[in-house]
Amino acid sequence: MIRFEDVGVRFDDGGEPVLSAVDLQVDEGELALVVGATGSGKTTLLRCVNGLVPHFSGGTLSGRVTVDGRDTRTHRPRDLADVVGVVGQDPAAAFVTDTVEEELAYGMESLGVHGDVMRRRVEETLDLLGLADVRQRTLRTLSGGQQQRVAIGGVLAAHPRVLVLDEPTSALDPVAAEEVLAALTRLVHDLGLTVLLAEHRLERVVQYADRVVVVENGRVSSDLPAAAMATSPVSPPIVDLGRLAGWSPLPLSVRDARRVVGPMRTQLAGRAPNRIVRSVTMTGQGEALLSARALVVNRGRRPVLRGIDLEVRAGEVVALMGRNGSGKSTLLAAACGLLPARVGSVRTGGLDPASLPPRELLRRVGLVPQDPGLLLYGETVSAECRAADTDMRVAPGTTRTLLVYLAPDVEDRTHPRDLSEGQRLALALAIVLAGEPPLVLLDEPTRGLDYGAKTRLVASLRSLAAERHGVLVATHDVELVAELADRVVVIADGELVTDGPADAVLAGSPAFAPQVAKVMHPQPWLTVADVAAALAAS
């Protein structure tokens, strides 16, 4: 269905070729998963399929790409719209119209599909993706999962035979991601659609794949999932566990892994994870850097937080979990004074953050927002760092030094917008840390991060905690929490539901259990590193 023959791509900036010597074939009805680190050329590979590279992006393509027999040399993306549908990472950025039905119809209007046919297909698509209840809603009022399903529906309604998705779930919470992936697998099984899917969070998707395409430094190889995962540069925890144990074939789903995990469980029986129990709150050490008492916060007239009691102490990392819209971001905003407490109180270092002047505030608390780009205004990395030094009133060079520590490979002259997600996060974190706030807040830091960037983030946050900072991270990413947090706080509908040590909360909950915990259940292991350490000791 999709064929790459000796394809190379080079952009006009005079740099290295982004892809070289790519030979790839994806057959009809396959779900092919594209994996690779940030900047490896995944997106370029996907965009070649419908000719966006090079027709839209510029640059030079050598070799040949054909889809369903149509050559991208002679067919522009718009001429392939009835064969290939492309869905990007941020569904909201791709919407042309503002209601669900119109958005589904938009592509067909462009293709000149007849009115009656169009009407029928829109109805079919609404049912297929479970959108019938929201058909007349404004797109902005939909949840992330619904938006992504509308985006998929928008390309699907034109009846393409190939669907290309670039990280469709990386901006979604686990439930919404599950919705989208369920819809996708249904499309593959029921309609025989060919799907090419790139994704960072392999733990979510690898078990659905028929084929895995590994992209590494512009080189592409493809194989059956288990074989490809054995050597892939990026891999989900379950594969790491399998590699550690030497299981063959590698299990890709929790179900498969549990079938072969028996001997390992026996070997580890009676041992407890040698995790340093770091939670200082439980032992009463550490000063309280953040304390909320019966905190109620409104957005507009609507109360989003309804009486939260929470403490974060020096030296601990607390993970804040909960559904989208449960109040996580609002809690962080209240903690750094962006929203005032309506009832109750919030104190950072004993003072109300909303009443502090901004210059005082950043000495006590720093927030890395969900989109770290919001903190960046400079035209180059070095200008940004200099501005941050002035803003934070610290010695020149402080921010740059921190950045080198957090992300050694960032160049001075790059525009902050051209950095990868991981580098951008590192830059924002460096700026926040320059003011040396005792309390550091992060909102969804792992959006769009690959495994390498995530590992570096965990290391830097752990060392912050070791230096007696308090860290509060709002996240959906259970694997991150398993590696990082001392304590987990779960909020739902603006109320605090759970507050306890990470091990207990994660291992005990089906919704928040990381993959390793699911495999090792009922033994309380959370991460591959814990298991590896225990195995090495035995």
Binding site: D79, G88, A94, S110, C336
Partner: protein, 383 residues
């Protein structure tokens, strides 16, 4: 279109063009008269129809247009009072202190006596504009101009799309700006003053432009621009029509401005030119194979609404042509205006849509207890 669409009892949104045509008809009527009673009637008629047939949910701009109208009347009267007027008037209401101005200031006068006749003339004139504004406000309230965007001629399709994109994206942009401003606080700035606005502008614009590229890629992948196949002949036709139209309009305007040219030359030239220009908008892309999703039907109720506006406007126009008494009210000396019957009948016909046009869906749902109203959803799945 099904037969049900002809039934005014089936709740649905009326074609936006029908509402705009109706409102323009009434606006035309209003622009023909200075009789305050007739003008009040115009405002009452459109106000009643708005109250009866506006879709629930969105904020109504009608009130804003009414307030603007009142402001116009006030301004108009204020000017008359301050600067005096050429309306010969004997009934002096009050005398303002007159500010002496140097000679040669073009007959300008500041202050002096304020006459009843002058104030009335100004108020009537202002009321005429206010009534026209009320009609346009009614059109805005009954059919959002956004809905008209679906019916731009195909030559304006691209620009229409840009407009749709802009309207979709604007709320997002405001949200972005708010978030960037909040983030400024996190870097120790209070976020006020022009320098701060400057700081906001660049990141907001950066992310907006980035998103524009994503959007463009998505549009391109979904077949945008695929169906532009203009053949040479239709392009030549369009060019000819455009040029003829432009020539006609320019010459027509010149003819109207120039006192020396034949009195009847200006207007016909202008009309021909306008017609040709409009035609070129339509012809330029006649062969577009683009299709439209669920177009609003144009059925009997649309005709009724259109006719109601046209008749209302037409009757007042006829009355004005015939010089019916008190279409233009005498202000000097000031007399109480009479009510001419022909325009009144015309304007009352403008009320017809309040009964003979379909209820908008949400409003119908609200009245669902009423057994005569058929629920929209049932009809949709049946049709």
């Amino acid at each position: 279109m099904t037969r049900a669409h002809h039934d005014p009892r089936l709740p649905r949104l009326l074609h936006p063009a029908a509402w705009w045509a109706w409102a323009i008809g009434l606006a035309m009527a209003a622009s023909r008269t200075t009789n305050p009673l007739l003008l009040a009637l115009v405002v009452a008629v459109v106000g009643y129809v708005v109250a009866a047939r506006r879709e629930l949910g969105a904020a109504s701009p009608f009130g804003a247009f009414l307030r603007l109208g009142l402001f116009v009347i006030a301004m108009r009267v204020l000017f008359q009072a301050l600067l005096g007027g050429g309306v010969p008037g004997r009934t002096v209401l009050l005398t303002l202190p007159e500010v002496p101005l140097p000679p040669g200031s073009g007959g300008l006068r500041l202050g002096g006596s304020v006459t009843l006749e002058g104030v009335l003339a100004a108020a009537y004139d202002g009321a005429r504009l206010a009534a026209v504004l009320a009609c346009i406000g009614a059109a805005n309230a009954l059919a959002s101009p956004r809905r008209l965007l679906r019916y731009v001629p195909a030559t304006l399709y691209e620009v229409g799309t840009a407009l749709v994109v802009a309207l979709t994206y604007a709320p997002q942009l405001v949200e972005d700006a708010r978030r960037v401003r909040a983030a400024r606080r996190l870097r120790g700035h209070a976020g006020r003053g022009p320098r701060e606005l400057a700081r906001l502008a660049a990141p907001v614009l950066d992310s907006a432009l980035e998103r524009a590229l994503d959007l463009a890629a998505s549009m391109e992948s979904r077949g945008y621009g695929r169906s532009v196949h203009r053949d040479a002949r239709s392009r030549r036709q369009a060019t000819t029509l455009t040029l003829v139209g432009l020539g006609g309009v320019v010459a027509g305007v010149y003819g109207l401005l120039d006192g020396g040219s034949a009195p009847l030359l200006g207007l016909p030239l202008l009309l021909v030119g306008s017609a040709a220009a409009s035609a070129s908008l339509a012809v330029g892309a006649r062969r577009e194979p683009r299709s439209r999703y669920r177009p609003d039907p144009w059925a009997a109720p649309e005709w009724v609404v259109l006719a109601s506006g046209a008749v209302a406007g037409g009757l007042v126009l006829v009355a004005a042509q015939r010089g019916v008494q008190d279409i233009v009210v005498q202000t000097s000396p000031a007399v109480w205006p009479t009510v001419p019957w022909l325009p009144v009948v015309g304007l009352l016909l403008g009320l017809v849509p309040a009964w003979l046009s379909p209820l908008p869906p949400l409003r119908a749902v609200e009245r669902v207890g009423d057994s005569r109203v058929i629920h929209t959803k049932g009809i949709r799945s049946a049709s």
